[in-house]
């Protein structure tokens, strides 16, 4: 199930890997997953089995250990029995009995025997030890009546009730003295084949416990002790809590009739610990070795069930981890490819950006160039126009000069070479000279106008309507006297332009005079139904996005402008008028004036219709 889910996850998340050979990776993945699962199961099972085997081995080991202990206890007790037997048959005791049988009293004679016996017993007491701990704690010699003859503990006055030992063999007893259980060995002392008394030894339970009974660990929950047939016990007083001991006893007493070792696993009260309890008979001694230990000391903390569950959980965790690793790496790959693409896109974008920047730069450069070129061109235009103008001026001045010089020379010739020069012809020559000189003055005046125009001119914000109005006022009377109609149509709102008012007036005047000239010419050839008319209009024009423009239109219904001269009319010194009517400076000056105020001047002409001159000037915000 997990495998299918995994497979689904992988196939759904890795479209990137979908190549022509679709089946192969899936198969391989499936096989790998199966193998992995099988391997994990195998691991779990084998681990479990080995754990169980370990448990068994541990238990066995523990059992063997306990048996060994029981055996060593048996040896120890055998040694003690032998000791006691030897002591019981010692010379000193025997001497005592001899002397006693002889009838000697304690006062006279037996005392020394008792003293020697005591010495012997004390020596034994001191001599017998294991690693510094005494094996015996007390010896007592009794007579048949139970009176204490010798007591190494010195409690001679007490009557000691010790169970009569069976003839010949030392016996082990468990009694309780002063609320303390004690292990005793007692044997009979015989003299001449009859029981003459008894020798009892107390075993030092500290030695017993520390060297034989207590299990080799520092665990306070484990412990061992000795049990006899009657249910008396010798148990460590400090180690195990009473509850455990009672339960242990209860359990073992139930089973004490069993001849062999038994192990009982029993959950105990506090903390619900499972305890392993053992009760082994100590060989050749009528006692049993009792031991208990928490099960987890032997078999480890995990029950088999928990082990399986744990391993299973671990396996699941491992698989889940694997699955998530795969999933994550798939995600990673996808992300990575996207990232690479994004990076590529970014580089492309970047290069495009660079291109754009370069182009922008080039365009800016081109614009700069353009501006420069325009400035240069304007300047060159200016220079050219200047040149042209100069050429024009030269040409224009040249003509009247022909007349001046020619007539002057003729005068001189006449005066020199004629006997009778005609005064009238000389006068006529002189008048012609003066007239040409006047013409030159006129030309020069116009040039001066032009020159004045070239210098810095002051501008101010004026209402175009007012400037047009003042220009019209100058000519209104003149037009009327010549029978010419002069119409004006100004815009309702003021048209604020930043210009020199006088210059603009002159331009308007120039245009009006041209218009007058045109209509007068036409009037000369037309009949009475022709009404010469000159119109002046002002308006504001605003296209979306471009700044507002003031438009001044002067149109006339005169004879118009011929097509073949149309493009020359703004050239300096171009004129269609008769030589004495105009010098041709007017329109060029007008154009230059208008353009210096950042305006334009154009004309539209259709033959037999209105001839129209348009002046456009940028409207500026009113100042002041």
């Amino acid at each position: 199930m997990i495998l299918r889910h995994l497979k689904k996850q992988i196939t759904s998340r890795l479209p990137v890997f979908w190549t022509i050979h679709q089946k192969k990776p899936i198969l391989a993945l499936t096989a790998a997953s199966l193998l992995l699962v099988a391997f994990i199961i195998f691991l779990v099972v084998s681990n479990f089995r080995s754990q169980m085997a370990l448990r068994e081995a541990s238990l066995n080991r523990f059992r063997l250990y306990l048996e060994k202990r029981a055996t060593s206890l048996g040896y120890f007790f055998s040694e003690r029995k032998y000791d006691l037997k030897m002591l019981a048959h010692s010379r000193e005791i025997n001497n005592y009995f001899i002397n006693r049988t002889l009838g000697m009293s304690v006062q006279y004679g037996l005392k020394v025997n008792l003293f020697m016996i005591k010495q012997l017993l004390e020596k034994t007491l001191a001599a017998r030890n294991i690693q510094g701990t005494k094996i015996y704690s007390r010896f007592v010699l009794l007579d048949n009546a139970g009176n204490i003859l010798v007591d190494t503990a010195g409690k001679l006055d007490r009557h000691f009730a010790v169970p009569r030992p069976v003839q010949g063999s030392p016996d082990f007893f468990l009694t309780i003295e002063d609320n303390q259980p004690q292990l005793l060995i007692s044997t009979s002392c015989s003299y001449k084949g009859k029981t003459a008394g008894g020798l009892v030894v107390w075993l030092n339970d500290r030695a017993l416990f520390s060297h034989f009974l207590t299990l080799n660990d520092n665990n306070t929950r484990s412990g061992a002790g000795v049990l006899d047939d009657k249910g008396n016990t010798l148990l460590p007083d400090s180690a195990a809590p009473q509850a455990i001991i009672q339960q242990v006893l209860h359990e073992t007493l139930k089973k004490r009739n069993k001849p062999s070792v038994f192990y009982e696993q029993h959950p105990l009260g506090r903390g619900n610990q499972e305890m392993l309890m053992a009760c082994l008979p100590i060989p050749n001694i009528g006692l049993q070795y009792l031991a208990w230990i928490p099960t987890d000391q032997i078999t480890g903390g995990f029950t088999p069930m928990r082990l399986i569950i744990g391993m299973g959980a671990l396996a699941i965790v491992v698989l889940v981890a694997l699955g998530s690793i795969l999933w994550f790496s798939a995600q990673n790959l996808i992300l990575k490819t996207r990232f690479d693409e994004a990076a590529k896109q970014q580089t492309i974008l970047f290069s495009k950006n660079q291109q754009l920047k370069a182009e922008i730069q080039k365009r800016e450069q081109a614009e700069c160039e353009l501006v420069k070129q325009r400035t240069l061109r304007i300047r060159s235009d200016r220079l050219r126009s200047l040149g042209e103008m100069a050429a024009g001026i030269a040409h224009e001045l040249n003509q009247p000069l022909v007349g001046v010089r020619g007539f002057a020379e003729l005068m001189i010739y006449a005066l020199d070479n004629e006997q009778d020069p005609s005064i009238d012809s000389i006068r006529d020559y002189a008048e012609k000279i003066v007239s040409q000189a006047d013409r030159m003055v006129h030309i020069i005046n116009h040039i001066r106008l032009f020159a004045r125009d070239a210098g810095g001119v002051e501008t101010s914000v004026v209402d175009l309507n007012q400037t047009a109005d003042s220009a019209l006022n100058l000519l209104r009377a003149q037009f009327k006297s010549h029978g010419l109609r002069l119409q004006q149509n100004f815009s309702a709102h003021p048209l604020w332009v930043k210009v020199n008012a006088f210059s603009v007036e002159e331009v308007i005047l120039n245009l009006l005079s041209n218009a007058r000239h045109a209509v007068e010419q036409r009037k000369a050839v037309e009949d009475k139904s022709y009404h010469p008319c000159v119109r002046v209009n002002t308006s504001a024009y605003c296209k979306n996005g471009s700044p507002a423009i003031a438009v001044l239109v002067i149109d006339d219904n005169g004879n118009g402008i011929d097509q073949d001269v149309a493009d020359k009319i703004f050239d300096p010194f171009f004129t269609t008028k008769a030589p004495d009517k105009g010098t041709g400076l007017g329109l060029s000056i007008c154009k230059s004036i208008v353009e210096s105020f950042e305006g334009t001047i154009e004309y539209v002409c259709a033959a037999d219709e209105w001839t129209r001159f348009e002046i456009r000037l940028p409207i500026c915000a009113q100042e002041g």
Partner: protein, 315 residues
């Protein structure tokens, strides 16, 4: 019985030559002294402390006796005297003597006793400076020598062989009663005694008991007394308590104690009446020796069982 024979042999081989040699020396010295006495020198007296110091030697008179003097180097009294001579800063010399002569060897005066009376009979050379030999303080002895402070408890018991039909007395709690009971039992029995010692029968009025008193042959030693009883050569013997205690250990099942013959007695070292400074020196020495527990150790070494019988000893 083998053991008895061995012991007797030991006695004979070790001590007998010394005894005879000592006797020879004694005689010779006696002769010289007698000559000296009659001719030039004034009668010689027992030496006091200064003489001992000048001589650089302490002569210890003793009789091989149980654990008091068991050899020339061991024995309660031997060790005690050795220590005393070391304390004085002099050499130690053991002078073997006998029960009969030991007092005369110390005092230089021969004597005869009759019960508690003493009669000086003559002079003899002084052989030693101090007697320390498990020497019981007896009235007649007190008349002749000065005893130092008592240093060992004792008493006299009656001992018989194990197979004897004499049964031990039952202690009554009063020692006098016990003594009387013992004396009653002695009627018609033979009892071995040693004259001039603490086992002298006259001390205990044994002649009144009706027992047949056998005097130990002078050639025999005190330590042979009990073996003689075991050998049933005599029926009973007197013996003092320390020795009896040892004998009980040595011959278990061969002897039995019948009962007391004397009340509590004391032993002490003896000094000549003309050696008060020596005695005083010994007292000083012994006081210290006792107070630091050394004496108790010494006693424990040789007579460990004495404390069971005499619980108040050295308390």
């Amino acid at each position: 019985m083998n053991r008895i024979r061995q012991h007797l042999c030991h006695l004979r081989t070790v001590w007998a030559p010394r005894l005879s040699a000592a006797r020879k020396v004694c005689l010779l010295l006696g002769f010289t002294l007698a000559l000296n006495l009659t001719l030039i020198h004034p009668p010689s007296l027992a030496r006091d402390l200064q003489d001992v110091l000048k001589a650089g030697k302490l002569r210890h008179l003793g009789i091989p006796y149980a654990n008091f003097i068991s050899s020339i180097e061991s024995g309660l009294d031997v060790e005690l005297m050795r220590k005393f001579s070391a304390y004085l800063g002099v050499e130690y010399e053991f002078v073997n003597s006998s029960w009969r002569d030991i007092v005369a060897d110390l005092t230089g005066k021969t004597f005869q006793t009759h019960g508690e009376d003493v009669i000086l009979t003559g002079k003899c050379p002084v052989q030693g400076d101090v007697i320390a030999s498990g020497f019981t303080i007896l009235p007649w002895r007190k008349k002749l020598i000065d005893f130092a402070s008592a240093y060992f408890p004792t008493g006299v018991w009656l001992i018989t062989y194990a197979g004897s039909d004499l049964s031990p007395v039952t202690p009554t709690g009063s020692i006098q009663n016990d003594i009387n009971a013992v004396k009653k039992k002695l009627n018609g029995r033979s009892v071995l005694v040693l004259e001039d010692s603490c086992l002298d029968p006259s001390l205990y009025k044994l002649e009144e008991t009706g027992a047949s008193i056998q005097l130990l042959d002078p050639s025999r030693d005190i330590c042979e007394m009990i073996p003689l009883v075991i050998a049933r050569i005599v029926e009973t013997t007197l013996m003092d308590v320390p020795v009896a205690l040892i004998a009980l250990e040595k011959w278990p099942g061969d002897i039995k104690i019948v009962g007391p013959v004397s009340k509590r007695q004391e032993m002490a070292p003896g000094f000549s009446k003309s050696s008060p400074e020596l005695k005083a020196a010994f007292e000083t020495f012994f006081k210290r020796y006792k107070s630091d527990g050394s004496y108790r150790r010494l006693v424990m070494k040789y007579y460990p069982s004495v404390f069971t019988y005499y619980p108040d000893f050295l308390k």
